[in-house]
Symmetry: C2
Subunit: 375 residues, 2 copies
Amino acid sequence: MDRLPTIEDVARAAQVSRQTVSNVLNTPAIVKPETRKRVEVAIRKLAYRPHASARRLRMRKSSTIAIRLDPMTNGISGALLDRFLHALTEQADARGIRILLFTAADPAAEIEQIRKLRAGADVDAFVLTATFHGDPRTEWLVEHDVPFVTFGRPWGVNDMNNPKHLWVDVDGFAGMREATLHLIDAGSSRIGFVGWPSLSGTGDDRRRGWQAAVEERLFPGDGDLAALNLSVEDLLEDARDAVVALLESDERIDGLVCASDTLALGAMIAAASVGRSDLPIIGFDNSPVGQAIGLSSVDQALDEVARGALELLLGETGGDLVRRDAAAAGDTRHRLITPHLVIRQPLRLLAPDAVSIPTATKNAVGNHRNGKESQ
Amino acid sequence: MDRLPTIEDVARAAQVSRQTVSNVLNTPAIVKPETRKRVEVAIRKLAYRPHASARRLRMRKSSTIAIRLDPMTNGISGALLDRFLHALTEQADARGIRILLFTAADPAAEIEQIRKLRAGADVDAFVLTATFHGDPRTEWLVEHDVPFVTFGRPWGVNDMNNPKHLWVDVDGFAGMREATLHLIDAGSSRIGFVGWPSLSGTGDDRRRGWQAAVEERLFPGDGDLAALNLSVEDLLEDARDAVVALLESDERIDGLVCASDTLALGAMIAAASVGRSDLPIIGFDNSPVGQAIGLSSVDQALDEVARGALELLLGETGGDLVRRDAAAAGDTRHRLITPHLVIRQPLRLLAPDAVSIPTATKNAVGNHRNGKESQ
DNA sequence: CTGTTAGCGCATTCAG
DNA sequence: CTGAATGCGCTAACAG
């Protein structure tokens, strides 16, 4: 295979002009069926595919979307981007769009990368993850009229229904509320929340979900929620220590919902270490680690997030990547995905009342290999 | 910004012919310094960048490497590909190479994707991960003369020093041996190995590392290694159960090395549950989860793997992506990266002799936030 | 050192 | 419906 076949080679093989081949490829409807067949056979025979760069040059669009690969998201929930990427790539492929990666150490570097990628006509649009309050990236992109969508809503910046840019996000409120209601339905009556310090829009959203469920079903008036409301950094150890303190100070607690699987794992360890391995705990992210350890968790439905992102960018129809004018867009310019709860049989970290697991019970403990997943 | 500036715009702005601009970009040496300066100013002023597609078309190469995003690698060590991707993207960027993603459900689908990507001149070369014995992909790629490098050596297929294709791999033998020696130096004298069932080249390689260290330093003659040699699937629960059994049947065991962090985590849980939270355990992969929990582990040095892959593909010099002829290549056609051990203070899953952690010791337990990392 | 000429492979005008 | 032109933006040959 010395040289890739060109459209001309196909034309010669099919005994037509090269324009006819182009038509078969791009406007098959206007070609006489029998000629089309002949051309298609030639295409298959030569294993011809249009030269991507040539086509992109001609079409004046790259049909490529770029996304930044974070240096390292937090430990346990880190694989989140990984899974989102997979979903995005898969859906993009179906639309004839390619996903290009880039890296950057900080927002300024990311803007610079975006600038380069744009100036080189390498990329048509961008997907931004891990947006935050007052994010300089979104400002710059809007300013420079670069098509993009964020995974994460623009917290507090502007009207959610008519924001300055496209966004997709997961409804943390709904997810955490569902998790909490699940525990309540299962009999819990005093449920704590382990979340991040305020000012994290995402974290506050999830906290409100817990709060809503608890106020709705457990403390119709207004309980002492503050005592059940933990705020720690997203670290296993911090969560563990805080939960140990909580459980020691309030023995009536019979359930815990957490803003992340990292926190939930810390909580599990804490519960086990104070002899409460039976304590129901629900995390958020449905991380692989959580799966491995049988942690119930709220799944972010990354497939839907990816689909939403592409729909907003490309329109629901095809892969046209023509950004619709903000003003002209009749339908919504965002998607709020409802996550769903995944319930698992927890892998007990430790038998509740023995230092050593008696041989007799070993099998019972080890029997949760295939934790059923609901919904 | 209606239309991107072209080389012609720059030429006009700098009062030179457009070829001169091209020269400044590609062969700066042959342009008179003062003219060059003038052109460079114009380039900066217009924020000009060569149109990637046009350049690729002209150069007859895409300067793009594609890599498949796995559906989902195993739970805990899953982020491995994630980190490798990051390293690869970063290094590629430095060489002016872009990384494109694609997905495929199985090897056949992957081959089909590769075929398409190649036929469309979208991609110059590929990086293959998770290769296995008798992998159809490598055969096909060699057959069709597609430039590629694998992350993973061709186990048993052909001469490692003159293989049919380029490869990079991590020296599991050396890594596991170092881990084992570390435990021995720290005083362990009876060290078990938790690995995968045989037939996994990678797993066997790691097992041999443990074996070598143990035979070398602990059982010069030949001990009853079989009793210390566990084989389980890469699942937390399986590892836990097997290690519980091992520790109960042999109380002299004072160290454990594991073929993955998943296994190591299972081992940690097992150790804690039989009152041996003090048991030194070392994993493999240096996964984020392991970090979070203070697990010592063998780090795969993915930066070096990525660099090696690109060097093999592009040559050490630049980003030329001209595959050197197999026969003509004087230097090696592979890289074997030596991993390094990362030692951490383990986060105790549980106080060794108390059901509840006394308040007084809580700080001590929680104080390992920034585990020092050696080497 | 600088300017001119000729494609890379494709899609999109226009004529027939 | 099909065939013959034009140029997307660039670089590599040349000639000056």
